[in-house]
Amino acid sequence: MKYAIGIDIGSTCAKAAVLDENKTVVFRLVQPTGWSSVDTAESLRKALCVAGFDPADHPVVATGYGRIAVPYAKKAITEITCHARGACRLFGLEDLTVIDIGGQDTKIIAVKDGLVQDFLMNDKCSAGTGRFLEVMANTLALRPGELCDLARLGGNTSISSMCTVFAESEVISLIGRGEKRENIAFAVVDSVVQKVVSQAGKLAEATGAVCLTGGLCQCDYVREALEKALGRTVTTCADGRFAGAVGAALSGLKL
């Protein structure tokens, strides 16, 4: 059996996925990226060897912002292309809009016939990204997942600042005012969702089913809030955060 390995080194988490020649995911692994992409790549390599997939024996394609820090990769492909390919495989679709809320980037990718038509990434700032949510969760002494769950219970509060630093001050002043934690959590998720929706609006080609990938896709409330704000069905899947790694591995199968 032929296998291919995809490595996706994101700003927060590093993911690895192994596909067999039938394009089935046979192994997946996630770990924090930490401060060094090179060390992370090495630690993933060891873990892959232990699992029986020595990168020396199988084609490896790297993606994510740390894609150039994977010395054993045969090829580096951007996360845009990999997320699109991976999402097509994971969702079983050829025409779709991928929304990937990552640690430092939020990407919206319009895919038609399995090919990227157009894409948008957030500007330099972290508004609308996982990092934004993580910083706010820290301020509220919550884990990001807990914040999303709590947000479902809140409402009627908003954060106007898009900048993470200013938004954090705004959250602190809400805390000072005695605002309920669930209401602040609601405002944080709402801010991320609004930013993503305004970005999606700029992408005219963004038609087809909306599929959510990236670290936040496991938070069901985020998916629901996006669905409501976009007025379209948003689907996700268990392997959603591995979309980039799966896409990279798919490219590896062709090497």
């Binding site: 951007t78 845009i80 292309t81 980037d105 090919l115 038509q117 990434m121 500007d123 330099k124």
Partner: protein, 383 residues
């Protein structure tokens, strides 16, 4: 011989910068007057005919932006901030030694910056019409140029004759034609020169005070390249047309990323590229000022509303240079180009050519993201 003092910090400057200062100082000591220009709309022929040396003023480096931000808002185009910063810090030899700085009423940021610049430097602002389609635009611009002629004649005690103007028109046309010939070599399948090399050459030649020498060097390079096609450039690389703002300050970030991703920039539809070089002045015209006005008004810049010239030229250039993709590069907070991007996107869509817009500044903070975006764009163009 007049004594021209160097800036106080001269000894701390790099060798290249020192050389620039000494070159201008030497010219001034020989009695030459220097005009500093910012924009492609500056009617160079008139300055040539007045006997002034013309040079583009520095505004492509992040180095002077912190100084500029002591007086200018942060959320402003980096080109304007950098230019003004060079004036504040005395780091640009051409700004420092300029006898007159010529600006135009192009974008709002530049207009207001010129007002501040005018407090410390002799600054002359030409009033550019806001569009070329209204019937009086041509008349107004011609009158502006006549006013400029009178100003130069009085200020520098010179006579700008029709004969001198015709001579200057001929020479500038020859330079434009030489630049075009060089740029047109990138229409070929096998590129004899990379986009980076082309741009670097054109940028450098702009600082040559001797226009005939600049023409000769440009033609010599073009001859050389057409005679021996080099194999240096990626064969089969995707062909990208770059449009938008001047890109000197973001060149590595943008053009470097295209080339790192295995592509080639084959056409620069901007001020350092083909845009002003194709605006030839009629050498036979009875009224040379009118002819100069007509040619310069034909520059397709986003300060014009509507920017009909750019809308006409872009699809033609996409075909001429067989562009596989268009990169629209706008500098941070450049409202005119950023908003016009929407129309450019539609034009590209009509032409069936993939389009991507980028907004960036001179800082390196977003270099990684720009690299990824451009690499992803190149991937969408296919293998």
């Amino acid at each position: 011989m007049a004594d021209f003092l160097l800036p106080a910090a001269f000894e701390e400057y790099s060798d290249a910068r020192k050389a620039g200062f000494l070159k201008v100082k030497a010219a001034k000591e020989q009695g030459r007057k220097v005009a500093g220009c910012f924009c492609s709309f500056t009617p160079l022929e008139i300055l040539d005919a007045a006997g002034l040396l013309t040079v583009s003023l520095c505004g492509m480096s992040p180095e002077t932006i912190p100084a500029a931000e002591t007086e200018l808002p942060r959320n402003l185009c980096p080109l304007i901030k950098s230019s003004y910063g060079f004036y504040l810090t005395d780091k640009c030899p051409y700004t420092y030694f300029a006898d007159v700085i010529v600006g135009e009423t192009t974008c709002d940021g530049k207009k207001k910056m010129y007002e501040l610049l005018g407090r410390g430097k002799n600054t002359y602002v030409l009033h550019l019409p806001q569009g070329r389609d209204v019937p009086y635009a041509r008349e107004m611009w011609t009158e502006e140029l006549r006013r400029f002629v009178r100003y130069l004649e009085e200020t520098f005690s010179v006579q700008i004759t029709d004969e001198k103007l015709r001579e200057a028109i001929k020479q500038r046309n020859a330079l434009r034609a030489a630049r075009c010939r060089l740029m047109e070599l990138l229409r070929e399948d096998d590129l004899p020169i990379s986009g980076t090399e082309l741009y670097t050459f054109l940028d450098g030649i702009g600082f040559n005070f001797d226009i005939d020498d600049a023409i000769a060097k440009t033609l010599a390079l073009a001859d050389d390249l057409s005679a021996q096609k080099s194999q240096k450039v990626t064969p089969g690389g995707k062909r990208v047309l770059v449009t938008g703002c001047p890109i000197g300050g973001v060149f590595q970030k943008v053009v470097g990323a295209v080339e790192r991703a295995g592509g080639n920039v084959v056409c620069f539809e901007n001020c350092s590229g083909i845009k002003p070089s194709r605006c030839m002045v009629d050498e036979q015209a009875a009224d040379p000022i009118q002819a100069i006005a007509d040619a310069y008004l034909d520059i397709g810049c986003a300060v014009m509303t509507p920017d009909s010239k750019r809308f006409e030229t872009l699809p033609a250039l996409m075909k001429e240079f067989r562009a596989d993709g268009v990169l629209d590069v706008a500098l941070q907070a450049c409202h005119t180009y950023l908003i016009e991007g929407r129309s450019i996107r539609d034009i590209c869509k009509e032409q069936g050519v993939p389009y991507m817009a980028l907004e960036t500044d001179y800082a390196t903070a977003d270099a990684g993201q720009i690299d990824t975006r451009i690499a992803a764009f190149m991937e969408t163009l296919g293998e």
